[in-house]
């Protein structure tokens, strides 16, 4: 279940967004990714997301990618807020809305930036009748990447920071989906290599909006094993965001689309909402969620 604990930050972690920068400024690959990381962290603070995660087996027909089966759909609502001196710790609550068999499952997660501190996760299932702490460990440091909600996205794909554990090369410039992009390669160092399933990744970053429009993940045999595609890039709260992300697993021929149906940041979220009460007290939770929604209007 630790996979789900990162949901609070994936609302923005995958978006790889930037604030607009001064035109003509020369940036290195590291600088681009560093600014991306800072932007991701800032967009995660005090956020409310509603997302739909759709997965299916895919095929290629007439050079178009199509689902070969009816997509499996999960609908989730999450609230997150950053804490700590540098706002690098994140508390989040995630509620499953769909499918029906998982409706009402709630998860509270405290993710600490300090690798010495274990992340904390509590789960609420109506069958359990109580809040239960989950043995989660620190998903970034102790465990291998794992599927997120049964999708093709993994915890590694949602990871932020740790840029110093990569060699980052600016390969060049090209176009992607009709837009000018930088091509940036990230190669893990020896320490990071032990935790990752990718020997390298290549990102295609929109030069104007600083959004990753495409990412390619390669295995140790230099084969592309996964590809991430972004679309519906929109300006939300002065930040460019890709509201639709599709991860294709080229080994299993499955894909997952993560659609941010609603994404709002910089909200006034009470600290009390990010406690165990939100899991057990549905009347309180729904009331507070309504207050959050009212801030959006």
């Amino acid at each position: 279940m630790k996979l789900k604990s990162t949901l609070g930050i994936i609302g923005t972690a995958l978006l790889v967004t930037f604030f607009p920068h001064a035109s003509g400024q020369e940036l290195t690959g590291f600088e681009i990714m560093k600014r991306s990381d800072d932007a991701v962290r800032s967009t995660n603070d005090s956020s409310f997301n509603r997302m739909q995660l759709s997965s299916c087996k895919f095929g290629v027909t007439q050079s178009r990618i199509t689902c070969a089966e009816r997509a499996r759909v999960k609908s989730l609502e999450s609230v997150a807020k950053n804490y700590g001196p540098e706002l690098k710790d994140t508390k989040s609550v995630t509620i499953t809305l769909e499918p029906a068999a998982e409706r009402g499952i709630g998860m509270l997660s405290f993710a600490y930036d300090d690798s010495e501190r274990d992340n904390e996760t509590w789960l609420y299932l109506s069958a359990l009748g109580r809040v239960k702490r989950i043995a989660a460990g620190n998903s970034e440091e102790e465990t291998e990447p794992a599927s997120l909600f049964g999708s093709e996205f993994t915890t590694e794909d949602t990871d932020t920071g740790k840029l110093e554990e990569y060699t980052i090369n600016l390969l060049g410039e090209t176009t992607q989906a009709g837009r000018d992009v930088w091509q940036i390669e990230m190669i893990p160092n020896a320490e990071r290599a032990r935790k990752t399933r990718y020997s390298r990744t290549v990102h295609y970053i929109d030069k104007e909006r600083f959004v990753a429009l495409r990412s390619e993940m390669y295995d140790q045999y230099e084969r592309e094993v996964k590809r991430l595609m972004a679309s519906r890039v929109e300006l939300v709260n002065d930040i460019w965001m890709a509201r639709s992300l599709t991860m294709m697993n080229l080994v299993t021929n499955r894909l997952s689309n993560m659609a941010f149906v609603e994404i709002y940041t910089d909200l006034n979220i009470e600290d009390e909402f990010l406690t165990q009460r939100t899991l057990t007290d549905a009347a309180y939770r729904e009331t507070e969620l309504e207050k959050l929604r009212s801030q959006l209007n």
């Binding site: 759709s54 759909v73 102790e142 009709g178 639709s244 007290d281």
Partner: protein, 472 residues
């Protein structure tokens, strides 16, 4: 059992083979269309962006969750048991459960701070189901309201009134503190306590303070574990009529409170309660004929529970001190004692402890051990008398689960037995999620018991079951 294990191995081999066949990545060249507007047909994702979420009016039906399931379950091993030399009881293979179930759950936060929640179930028993046969070989139906409560939350308070569950304790599956609600292990397709817990009429007041949470309940109508249903595997013909407890002349209630604190890596709780044991004790009629005398067992419980997370390991600990419990209260769930019990009240200590360990992102294992002991157990006994629960008694429980195929296939096993090693349950379970609506489950349950326990009558039983479920 062996055949099922072979099946599990076969499934795993097939999965391995499937992955092996797909180990070569698909080559996607740039001619494959996948541009910013998503070449994937948008409708396969439900046109999620097309709906105007801000103006969506919620349908009354969205507050309901419905699960429809058809279950087949039966004993498949032809054998016999011999509780006493010369008394041989045949145990023939037979269908036990053939039933359709509809579970409905409703949750509606109808106004700020208010919530109404209800859940219930309807069961229809088809041919060969034990309830069908107990009903004169006619299709039988029953229904039950599980949850039904109204909740009001304001400031740091929450009050719930209605049928609900209160669960105490940290240990998975067999906590000594999980004694507030009563249970019904109606048949052997239910061996997890989470599936057997029944709701009761209560008022629960929660106070969420800055330094911890107080949770207090008053049970206005304490209920008892239901007697075995006629025809079920647990049913036996009693020597006297089993009757409900006569509460008209003796109204009673339960009350308890828990204080819970959370620290980084740990949660702890303190509890105190006045309770009535969930299992009624039955005594022989005074005149020797007629109805058995149902007797309740009220006592005071003091408890403490704690957990500690260390990386992927979670340690659990519960402690219970019970004051003034009836020394002889039969503890096997769903059955009742007609032996001549001793009329002694004693104090009892109990503990349950164990761990949960996340082997990997997909696999987890847990162990729970429960042990209880009456204090001064020999005090008050006449020469030759012996308590039913003599010395340390309790149970152990091991669970293992493995998520495959991104969680679509969950293989799990449950092993449990008594500390006295007189009985042993083993269950293997496979749950496959076919789609967002459909799921199928298969399970095998095996029991081993010796003649020191009433479970002897289930010795060498092997049960196979399958359930198909549709949720919406």
């Amino acid at each position: 059992m062996l055949r099922f294990c072979q099946l599990v191995i076969l499934v795993q081999l097939l999965l391995t083979k499937t992955y092996a066949q797909q180990e070569e990545p698909l080559i996607l060249d740039d001619s494959v269309s996948f541009d910013a507007e998503l070449a994937i047909d948008d409708d396969i994702f439900g046109n999620v962006f097309d709906e105007d979420t801000s103006s969506t009016t919620s349908s009354w039906f969205e507050d309901f969750t419905v699960r429809v399931s058809q279950q087949f379950f039966g004993q498949v091993n032809n054998h016999s048991v011999e509780p006493l030399p010369g008394f041989v009881f045949p145990r023939e293979a037979e269908m036990e459960n053939n039933r359709l179930g509809i579970n409905i759950r409703y949750q509606n936060a109808f106004s700020p701070g208010w919530l109404l929640q209800a859940s219930g179930q309807i069961r229809s028993y088809w041919k060969d189901d034990y309830e069908y046969e107990a009903n004169g070989e006619r299709i039988d139906m029953d229904y039950r309201v599980n949850e039904l409560f109204l909740q009001r939350s304001f400031d740091q308070h929450s009050i719930k009134f209605g049928r609900q569950t209160v669960v105490w304790g940290e240990t998975v599956g067999n906590s000594v503190l999980d004694v507030i609600n009563h249970f019904e292990f109606r048949d052997l397709s239910i061996i997890d306590i989470e599936d057997a817990r029944l709701n009761q009429w209560m008022v629960v007041w929660d106070y969420f303070g800055d330094s911890g949470q107080f949770s207090t309940f008053i049970n206005l109508y304490p209920e008892f574990n239901p007697a075995p249903v006629r025809g079920s595997p647990f049913f036996f013909e009693p020597a006297f009529n089993i009757t409900d407890y006569d509460r008209d002349d003796n109204p009673f209630f339960e009350i308890g409170t828990q204080y819970r604190l959370s620290f980084e890596g740990s949660d702890i709780s303190f509890m105190a309660a006045y309770l009535v044991e969930n299992q009624l004790r039955y005594e022989d009629p005074v005149t020797g004929i007629g109805d058995a005398v149902a007797r309740k067992n009220d006592f005071v419980l003091l408890g403490f529970s704690a957990n500690r997370a260390i990386g992927k390991l979670l340690l659990n600990f519960d402690f219970a001190y019970s004051h003034n419990v009836l020394a002889d209260s039969f503890s096997f769930p769903g059955t009742s004692s007609l032996a001549t019990p001793l009329d002694l009240k004693k104090n009892q200590v109990g503990t349950s402890f164990g761990f949960e360990y996340a082997v990997s992102n997909e696999q987890s294992v847990s162990l729970g051990i429960q042990a209880q002991k009456l204090l001064d157990e020999d005090e008050g006994l006449l020469p030759g008398q012996q308590l039913i629960n003599d010395g340390v008694f309790g149970s152990w429980l091991v669970r293992y689960s493995n998520n495959l195929m991104n969680g679509d296939l969950v293989l799990s096993s449950t092993l449990q037995g008594g500390l006295d090693a007189n009985s042993f349950f083993a269950m293997l379970d496979a749950n496959y999620t076919i789609s967002d609506n459909w799921a199928i489950n298969a399970q095998i349950v095996s029991i081993t018991a010796n003649n020191s326990t009433p479970l002897l009558f289930f010795d060498e039983d092997v049960r196979l079951g399958a359930t198909i479920t549709y949720s919406f």
